[in-house]
Amino acid sequence: MTTTSPPLTASAWLVGVREAIPLLGGYIPIAISFGLVAVQAGFTTWEAVAISTLIYAGASQFVFVGMAAAGAPLWLVVGMTLLINLRHVVYAPNLAAHMSSSRWWPALMHGLTDQVFALALTRLPQLPSEQRLGWYSGAALLAWFAWIAGTAAGAIGGEWVVQRWPLLGEVMPFALPALFLVLVAPRMSNFRWACATIVTVLAGLALALGGIANAGIPLAALTGALCFYTVKHAPTRRRCA
């Protein structure tokens, strides 16, 4: 499981499954939390699992059940959930050049979450083209099933798990930023990208601390993009004689 180009010995599908395993450290605790929150908001276990299976979009699911349980108008519930998911619009075009002409690709975009996109953006270009569909299917399906299983576990026994091992609930979610860090780090290969990435990370952190985590994601990315274009057009400083 390297970020360079390892020779693939197992089938592409299994390699995808194996490489998506680090995602589970972040997925499962959050999915368990969602299952727990959904049941506490009055949804049944099956309804929570159905939401995770169908919508499958992390943070926005918390907003969906929270607003629905609070009695918000359903058009507003749908609108807010879709607004949070709007960032997904830029993911698939970034991967399109690395995809074959298979008709399966559009349907498989159901599994294109933040984490799967980050992993695929790094790994797809490194794989032989005939292995990419298998690799992506394995990685995306593992992540999807883990999300569904985690939701079910949270809805059934989440409260018991959190009470028994409180530290586990605190520690495991760090797997997600750790994984993102590993996926973002290789992109900081030149000054321009390093500036834009660091500004984006700091802006995202500041916005999250300010209580605007969801809207903070596109806002932070736009701040980083502004930095990216500013660095490009910045005038070169004249040397003092």
Binding site: T4, V90, A96, P177, L183, G216
Partner: protein, 113 residues
């Protein structure tokens, strides 16, 4: 769950899927057109910039400690450092995440949460 709520789930499901799927179909058409014209850079630059930066933004948001305490910030900082150092040494995906989580957890444990 009422029928209205099921409809809301269905609308959100379809909307989210379309947001993930339609840009791919658009981009594939763009790619097939440009390959016919040969040599044109097909991905708009703003998209190739925003894609990776969205991930950096999710990283920034997810770095905010769940507990805004000295222990929470110290654990986050040490977890980040451990992850980066392990990544520089191994250039792999799995080990840096495991070491980062272990460093984060050990700091929280030693600080008594």
């Amino acid at each position: 769950m009422s029928m209205e709520l099921w409809l809301a789930v269905a609308a959100t499901t379809v909307g989210t899927l379309l947001m993930r799927m339609l840009p791919l179909i658009w981009m594939r058409k763009r790619l097939s057109r440009s390959s016919a014209e040969a040599g044109v850079d097909t991905l708009p630059q703003w998209l190739s910039v925003l894609g990776p930066l969205m991930i950096a933004a999710v990283l920034g948001v997810s770095l905010a400690p769940s507990q805004n305490t000295l222990a929470g910030w110290t654990a986050t900082l040490l977890g980040v450092l451990a992850t980066l150092i392990t990544w520089r040494r191994t250039r792999s995906l799995g080990w840096p995440v495991a070491v980062g989580v272990a460093a984060y957890g050990a700091t929280l444990l030693l600080s008594g949460l």
